[in-house]
Symmetry: C2
C-alpha cells in the first residue's frame, strides 16, 4: 500500500469511533511501514517485514545494565518525591496512593529527555516512519509488585485520534523495560497483526474522560467479539526479557496487561514518536483536547 | 522428619495465625510425605522427592481429551442453570453475575462424584498421605476470559485450619484443568518450597468471613515481606499445558493467580483430599465452622 500525501485531509475522519452502538472492525487506511525497503537504516529487511506483518519489534539488549540502573535510580527518586506524587502529570493506582505513571517525563527530566533522543531508538523510528518525528507523549509506568492492576486491551491510536486529534496512523511507541519482564509480573501483552484493523468502539467520550481513563478506561474499550477475532488471527505474545529490553509497537496495535501479584514490580519508560507529517488537529470526538502533558502540541522535531 | 501420631493433640494449636499484628514464618511441624519411599504406588522415587521438596506435581496427560470434553459440557450446563446460579454453593464474580466457583460438586453431581474417586487421582493421593482419605472440599472454578479476576496469594491450610478446624497438614489439593492453561489466561501460580513454612498472618477472623472471602480474601492474607522471602527461596511456577492436565499441590503451598484479560477462559475442577487421621475439630479461630458445602464434616473415607 503506497503512501499518498493527498489522503492527508485533516477534516475527514478516516477512523470514526465511539459514534454508535455497534462495534466493528475495518482495515486500516494507512501504511504500516512508510519507507522503502532499500533505504539505509538499523533495521534489516527481515525486521521490517516482521514489523509490517506483526506490528512490533523486540530487542533484548539495546541498552546496557549500567544505563538501565541509572534510569531505575532516577525513577526511584521521582516516585519518592512528594511534589512529583502531587503533580497533575502523575497518575496514582486506583484506591491507592502509589505512583502508576508519570507523564511528560522527557520535558521535566533531563536524563529522560536525553534518552528520548537516543539514536539507538530514534534511528529505528525514523526508518519505519520515514520522516522526522516529535514526541507525542512520554511516561514512566510503574506497576508495583503484589498489587499491580491490570490494564485492559486498547489501541493507543483509537484514543489519540478521538481525544487528541491525531489524524492518521503514522506514530510508534517505544517501551524500554526498567525491570525484568517475565510471565508472572503482568507483562505487556500484544495481539500481533491487530494493527491492520481499526476497531470502531461503541459509546461516546465524556468530558474530561482522561481524568479517569488513565486509571481505568471506560470508553474506547474493545468489545469481546472483536477482540476474539483479533486473537484468533494473531494470537497473543508477551515479549519478555531482562531489564533494558525494548519493544517498539505500532500505534494501532491492540495491547494490555494482566494484574501483577508477584513480588516483582514491572516498570518501563514509554515514548510515543509521531511523524511531523501527522501533527494533531482538533480531537475527533469533538471535545477539548487533553492536556499538553498527555498529548503534546509542541511539534518541534527531535 | 518422622511422623508422630502422639503429636496429634487436637486441642493444641500448632499453627496459630490471625492472632497479632506481626506476621511471621515458621517451619511446618508435619511431614510432607507420609509414606515410605519403598511403598508401592503410582509415583516413582524421583516424583516423591520432587513433591517433598517443591510441594507439587504436574501431569500433562492424566485424562484424555474425550473425558475432559464431558466435564466441560457438564460445567457449561451447570453455569447456565438458573437454580445453580442461585444456590449457596455457587460464588459469583465480584460486581458481576457470572459464576466464579461451584462448591460441593462431588455431592451434587454424579459425574463429578465419579471423577473425585478416579483411581488415577486417588492412588497418588493415598500414596502421598499414606492413609485413607475423604473429600474436604470440592469445587469447579470458572475464570472467564476478558474479565477473570485475580486470586491473591494464600495457603489453603491457613484458612482450613483457622476457619474449618483442620488440625494438621495432611491434606492435598488436586486441580484438573478443563481448559488450556497458558501464560496469558491467569494460570495458577505456585511458590515452590513454600509448603515448608507456615505463615502466621495478622488480623482476626470476622464472623461469616467466608461470605466475602470466597470473592476477595481480606484475612489470612500473607504480608509482602514474607511473600518476598518465600519467592526469593522457591521462585514462582505456573504449570501450563492442555486441558486435562492435573496439578497436585500440598495443602500449605502458597498459590494465587493473576487476572485474565485474554479471551480464553480458565476453568478447573478442584478436589481437596484430607486424611481420615486428620478430621476436622472446632475452628481454631474460635468461630462457628463454615458451612458443610465448603468444609465437609462427613468423614466417610472414599
Amino acid at each position: 500500500m503506497a503512501y499518498n500525501q493527498n489522503l492527508l485531509d485533516y477534516h475527514e475522519d478516516l477512523y470514526p469511533s465511539r459514534i454508535g452502538n455497534t462495534p466493528h472492525l475495518f482495515e486500516r487506511r494507512d501504511p504500516v511501514f512508510y519507507g522503502q525497503s532499500s533505504d539505509p537504516g538499523p533495521l534489516n529487511q527481515e525486521q521490517i517485514e516482521f514489523y509490517k506483518k506483526k506490528g512490533y519489534l523486540f530487542f533484548q539488549d539495546l541498552f546496557s545494565q549500567e544505563e538501565i540502573q541509572r534510569y531505575r535510580d532516577e525513577l526511584k527518586i521521582l516516585s519518592d518525591t512528594a511534589s512529583v506524587k502531587k503533580a497533575p502529570q502523575t497518575i496514582l493506582e486506583p484506591e491507592r496512593q502509589e505512583v502508576r505513571s508519570i507523564f511528560d517525563i522527557h520535558r521535566t527530566n533531563e536524563l529522560f529527555n536525553q534518552l528520548s533522543r537516543d539514536k539507538r531508538v530514534t534511528n529505528i523510528i525514523t526508518q519505519l516512519l520515514n520522516s522526522r518525528v516529535y514526541i507525542h507523549q512520554s511516561r514512566i509506568n510503574y506497576k508495583p509488585g503484589f498489587q499491580g492492576k491490570e490494564f485492559y486491551w486498547h489501541s493507543d491510536f483509537e484514543t489519540w485520534h478521538q481525544e487528541d486529534g491525531m489524524p492518521r496512523m503514522r506514530a510508534l511507541s517505544c517501551s524500554i523495560t526498567l525491570t525484568e519482564n517475565n510471565f508472572y509480573n503482568g507483562p505487556l501483552m500484544l495481539i500481533p497483526q491487530s494493527h491492520w484493523y481499526f476497531l470502531c468502539c461503541i459509546g461516546k467520550t465524556p468530558k474530561d474522560h482522561y481524568k479517569s481513563s488513565l486509571r481505568k478506561q471506560e470508553y474506547g474499550v474493545p468489545d469481546n467479539e472483536s477482540l476474539r477475532k483479533l486473537v484468533d488471527t494473531g494470537g497473543i505474545v508477551a515479549p519478555h526479557g531482562p531489564a533494558g529490553s525494548v519493544i517498539f509497537f505500532e500505534c494501532n496495535l491492540m495491547h494490555g496487561s494482566n494484574s501483577n501479584i508477584s513480588p516483582w514490580p514491572r516498570s518501563n519508560i514509554f515514548f510515543v514518536y509521531n511523524s511531523i507529517e501527522n501533527t494533531l488537529v482538533q480531537p475527533y470526538c469533538g471535545l477539548e483536547p487533553r492536556p499538553e502533558y498527555i498529548a503534546s502540541r509542541d511539534f518541534t522535531p527531535l
